[in-house]
């Protein structure tokens, strides 16, 4: 489980996050949702340590992440896998080398073991015969799946996904969402997904935290979100014509 307590973060004079708290449970797909510029990605980066909040605490199964020394932090980071919005695949490495990269650096596995592990996770995300291709030679959806394979190639306990289906067509988005949820249940990891895609929210939202103007204004799940009664959240959910029609039919 990951717990955030009273996180506040500013950039210069602009405060982005205001006193955010929440619990993200193991074995569930936890979603952080909200409109653009509400601080979702900043909160995620605070949780993984890419941004350092001015105030607050992040606990990984009770272990204080922000106060940990460099060695402890490095050890905790080895339990983390992250799928980035832009995939963050290394341009100079082929798919196999990209996925193998965390194993090269963080494990003592021999070459054959690493290759077996890479092939296993590539197969798990539905990719075969792409090992020697470069990232520039595969589609956006495949890049996401490679990013996901790289994120889970190590024995991770925590999976983070920053807008995993941005730039994908609806079918590929659905596939990525399903993969994330299946992997979360299979590996029993704590997964946090930042998204503003309502299909994802309704499809895999086992726990949802809604941020508005840097504040945590609602928590719930996909079953309760449509009837939250929270005005700001309803404006966000029912922004499109389709959702407005759906709202009328409810």
């Amino acid at each position: 489980m990951i717990e955030v307590k009273n996180i506040s973060k500013s950039f210069g004079d602009t405060q982005i996050l205001f006193d955010i708290s929440g619990k993200f449970e193991r074995g569930k797909t936890n979603l952080i949702i909200g409109g653009s510029g509400t601080g979702k990605s900043v909160l995620l980066k605070c949780i993984v340590g890419l941004n350092i909040p001015e105030e607050g605490q992040v606990l990984y199964d009770g272990r204080k992440f922000l106060e940990a020394d460099k060695e402890e932090k490095a050890q905790m980071r080895r339990e983390i896998g992250m799928l980035f919005q832009g995939n963050a695949l290394f341009d100079s490495k082929n798919i196999e080398q990209n996925v193998m990269f965390p194993l090269d650096l963080l494990t003592d596995m021999n070459k054959s073991e690493r290759l077996d592990r890479v092939n296993h996770v590539l197969e798990r995300v539905g990719l075969e015969n792409v090992n020697k291709k470069m990232p520039s030679e595969i589609s956006g959806g495949m890049k996401k799946r490679v990013g996901l394979a790289r994120a889970i190639v190590n024995d991770i306990n925590y999976l983070f996904c920053d807008e995993p289906n941005s730039g994908l067509d609806p079918r590929s988005s659905l596939l990525i969402d399903e993969l994330i949820q299946e992997i979360t249940h299979e590996l029993n990891v704590t997964t946090i997904v930042v998204t503003h895609d309502m299909n994802s929210v309704m499809g895999i939202g086992e726990y949802i935290m809604y941020l508005s103007k840097g504040r945590n204004v609602w928590e719930g799940n996909s079953d309760t979100i449509l009837t939250s009664g929270q005005e700001d959240l309803e404006d966000f959910i029912f922004a499109s014509k389709f959702m407005k029609k759906l709202r009328k039919s409810l």
Binding site: K45, V48, G49, L50, K70, K73, A74, Q75, R77, R78, I80, M82, F84, Q85, G86, A88, L89, F90, D91, F101, P102, D104, L105, L106, F160
Partner: protein
């Protein structure tokens, strides 16, 4: 001063929480290829013409009948070894390698590749920058030696083919009164310039924020700052080691 402080912290961070030695060896070899081998043609072309032009212009200025022809080669040698080979080549390298380093790291930054390394627990500065600096400090002195040799050869071709100086005079000129310290001085300059170009360019690229436009700005800034640092270091080294 704030930027300078940030630059020093950046350099210091390279030496904490390093990765395995073998990973640095692989990366350094790869960077040696990029910095050294891939710069060979441009260095060869610029240095050959640099030597040729130096010989022709020196001969044009030394018109007194009291000055013997071999002095043209002597002046060419001193200019090439002391200044042109290490410094002009550094400016060429800053333009080619420095801009490439800054834009490469800048692109990695804006495409979250550096964030990906950090999330994995990798010291991205050490992993990405240290091999580049080591490779530059290994390869640039070699490029300077090649530049020096080709400049002298360019001077020889220009001098002998145009009839400014005979082959015997030129070879005598580049050998007479040779002070071996000038070579050591050129090598010291080469190592210092390599460090400045690679570290400044990496710093500019690593801290790129924004998008494609900012990558271009970082690249330009890397070249400008590297060249200024090289020229400043050139003067300081000359004052310290030659006076």
């Amino acid at each position: 001063m704030k930027s300078f402080g940030s630059y020093l912290i950046f350099l210091g961070t390279m030496f904490v929480r390093r990765e395995t030695f073998s990973s640095y060896v692989k990366l350094t070899i790869s960077e040696c290829h990029t910095i050294g081998w891939n710069s060979l043609i441009i260095v060869a072309i610029t240095s050959t013409f640099m030597g040729a032009v130096t010989t022709v212009q020196t001969a044009y200025n030394l018109v007194s009948p009291l000055i013997q022809n071999y002095v043209v080669a002597q002046v060419t040698r001193e200019m090439v070894v002391l200044e042109l080979a290490p410094t002009i080549t550094a400016i060429v390298i800053a333009g080619k390698v420095g801009s490439s380093m800054a834009s490469g790291l800048g692109t990695m930054r804006i495409s979250e590749q550096i964030d990906a390394l950090e999330v994995m627990g990798v010291n991205s500065i050490s992993y990405l920058v240290l091999p580049k600096i080591i490779a530059a400090m290994l390869m640039y002195p070699m490029l300077v030696v090649i530049a020096g040799f080709l400049s002298l050869y360019g001077g020889y071709l220009a001098g002998t083919l145009t009839g400014i100086i005979t082959e015997t005079e030129y070879i005598y000129g580049i050998r007479v009164g040779f002070n071996p310290f000038t070579l050591s001085f050129a090598m010291i300059k080469a190592v210092v310039f390599a460090f400045l170009i690679s570290s400044i360019s990496a710093y500019q690229g690593y801290y790129t924020t924004g998008g494609a436009l900012e990558v271009g700005i970082s690249s330009t800034s890397a070249v400008t700052k590297s060249v200024i640092a090289v020229l400043l270091a050139d003067y300081i080294l000359a004052e310290l080691l030659l006076n």
